[in-house]
């Protein structure tokens, strides 16, 4: 096995933090995960992005050994998922999970730190997670956002090599969300590998080295944010025109045309080609605007493509 994580260690030399092969999970007739292959090398922030019910939480639960996959396999830190060796190197923040109601944050941290071989100093964690203001308040008296931040602190206390964060910023206000992002970046800079699920595109975009898009239990994209954005093609062209959408649809390079009143939105493969034809077809167009597709648009396009394939 490897020695402790220090700045000298090159993360690429370490075994993959997640290695899933053909992993599926069914709940009765429902397919929550469908033959997922995922290799996450050490040192990455890997975001699982998807709508509710896409299979993100099921993936996390399988990787933690809380749920056995129906078929396929998953290894964590080179060990079977859920084994003590895997759990010792892992910190966890789950969804819909409450800590001990009558315990304070400091007491929860003391309890969880006893599980790990070389835990962090509790006061340092309290400071890092920015929970000092309510570290000695009983958990049940905290607000929803404060509870999430205590859960985040608990995930950090074992100084894990791998951190699972299942929707870590759900229910947080903007400031608290940015604080969690800063923390995640800081941990990643120190060499911690992070698997994060979110349905906020903004969050995936802000944090991740790599975005794995899940839809209906399948991986439909696995790339950098920029690459996923590029997938939907070159550009979005908007303008005011008297042209009908049917006519716009057949312009060269147009993949999709959408009309609201006189405002036409074109998704095109190669903007210059389309623009030339557009200007020829309607010399009176107005308010012309060419933009790169946002991650949101890319994501919507990807999800819709999958839904159409499935039906």
């Amino acid at each position: 096995m490897m020695s402790g994580m220090d700045t000298q260690t090159d993360p690429r030399q370490l075994p993959a933090v997640i290695e899933a092969h053909g992993m599926s999970r069914h709940f009765g007739d429902t397919v929550a995960l469908d033959t997922v292959d995922l290799h996450v090398p050490a040192g990455q922030i890997c975001t699982l992005l998807g709508r509710n019910g896409a299979g993100k939480t099921t993936f996390i639960r399988c990787a933690l050994g809380l749920l056995p996959p129906s078929s396929g396999s998953v290894q964590v830190l080179g060990e079977p998922a859920g084994s003590m060796a895997a759990r010792l190197g892992t910190g966890v923040m789950l969804q819909d999970t409450d800590l001990g109601e009558a315990l304070t944050a400091r007491e929860q941290l003391a309890l969880f730190s006893s599980y790990y071989t070389s835990p962090a100093d509790i006061d340092t964690v309290i400071e890092d997670a920015d929970i000092a203001d309510f570290a000695d308040t009983r958990y049940k008296k905290l607000s929803g956002g404060q509870k999430r931040r205590v859960q985040f602190a608990v995930a950090l206390v074992g100084r894990p090599r791998l951190l699972f964060l299942d929707e870590p910023t759900t229910g947080l206000d903007t400031d608290a969300r940015r604080a969690v992002w800063d923390n995640v970046r800081r941990l990643a800079a120190r060499g911690t590998s992070i698997i994060l699920t979110t349905h906020y595109l903004e969050e995936a975009d802000a944090l991740a080295d790599r975005i794995v898009v899940l839809a209906q239990g399948r991986v439909i994209a696995d790339d950098t944010a920029a690459a996923i954005r590029a997938r939907t093609g070159g550009a979005i062209v908007r303008c005011r025109t008297s042209m009908t959408p049917d006519r716009a649809q057949v312009l060269p390079g147009v993949r999709a045309a959408d009309m609201h009143g006189r405002l036409l939105t074109l998704s095109c493969e190669h903007a210059p080609t389309t623009l030339r034809a557009l200007l020829d077809a309607d010399p009176d167009i107005d308010d012309l605007e060419v933009t790169k597709p946002t991650l949101e648009q890319a994501f919507t396009a990807l999800s819709e493509a999958t839904t159409e394939d499935a039906s």
Binding site: L66, L94, L111, F112, S113, S114, Y115, V154
Partner: protein, 246 residues
């Protein structure tokens, strides 16, 4: 502090006890109710050493049953429902320290529930027993933690919080009444005796009564064997309900 099994068990037990002490809805009935009942029926209404001694044996079992059933039954159901159990399973905490901490905390609470009853019996009820008998009685009373705790666990693993509270209350009251913990089972009609014989509370009470020299018809060894069998059955039930968690 680095990770040791004893260290985990200690911090887990500490957390259990802290949580219990901060829950008056658990603390009050489990600690105050048994001694209040004993004061009423065993001391104030009986006015005699024999009845006070008899009820000391049976109310001791009653006192142990509360923390065992409610600490485990309702406690585990709530922890399961709120996802606390799941987080522990994902964390590198061995399952045995979790159960072990509950066991130690329950025994501690059982001892705390017994002490005021013993004090009431000795100082107000006129109960006089040799030291060795007090000690044996204490051990017999505490050993009742095991079967009741396993029943509590099975309830906690099988029902949600509200369901577990209801079921634990039914079990608690029927074990108390039908087990002869409140009124001597010798007064029961035949059909009730048949039910009593199926309950661990009845057999535990019979063992305790033998210790204070008020034995029933059968030998303590017989009751001990029955309790042992029931405890194994309860352990299997608890194990099965635990494995169904996934």
């Amino acid at each position: 502090m680095s990770r040791t099994y004893a260290g985990i068990l200690a911090s887990e037990t500490g957390a259990e006890l802290t949580q219990s002490f901060r829950a008056p809805e658990f603390l009050l009935p489990t600690l105050a109710l048994p001694v209040a009942f004993y004061m009423m029926f065993g001391v104030l209404m009986s006015r005699g050493g024999a009845a006070a001694t008899y009820l000391l044996a049976t109310y001791g079992i009653f006192a142990v049953m509360g923390p065992s059933l409610f600490g485990f039954g309702v406690g585990v159901a709530g922890e399961r429902e709120r996802g606390w159990l799941e987080l522990k399973r994902a964390a590198p905490a061995p399952a045995s320290t979790f159960i072990g901490a509950k066991l130690v905390a329950t025994i501690a609470f059982a001892a705390m529930a017994l002490m005021p009853i013993y004090a009431a019996a000795a100082f107000m009820g006129g109960v006089e027993l040799p030291r060795a008998v007090w000690l044996t009685l204490f051990c017999v009373h505490l050993s009742a933690v095991f079967p009741f705790m396993l029943i509590g666990l099975s309830i906690g693993f099988s029902f949600g919080t509200n369901g577990a509270v209801a079921i634990a209350n039914i079990v608690f009251l029927s074990f108390a009444v039908l087990g002869g913990l409140w009124f001597p089972a010798t007064f029961f009609p035949g059909w009730m005796v048949a039910i009593s014989n199926a309950l661990p509370s009845f057999h535990m009470a019979e063992i305790a009564l033998t210790v204070v020299d008020a034995p029933g018809d059968r030998a303590a060894g017989f009751h001990a064997a029955v309790v042992a069998g029931m405890t194994v059955a309860c352990a299997l039930l608890a194990g099965w309900t635990w494995s169904r968690q996934r």
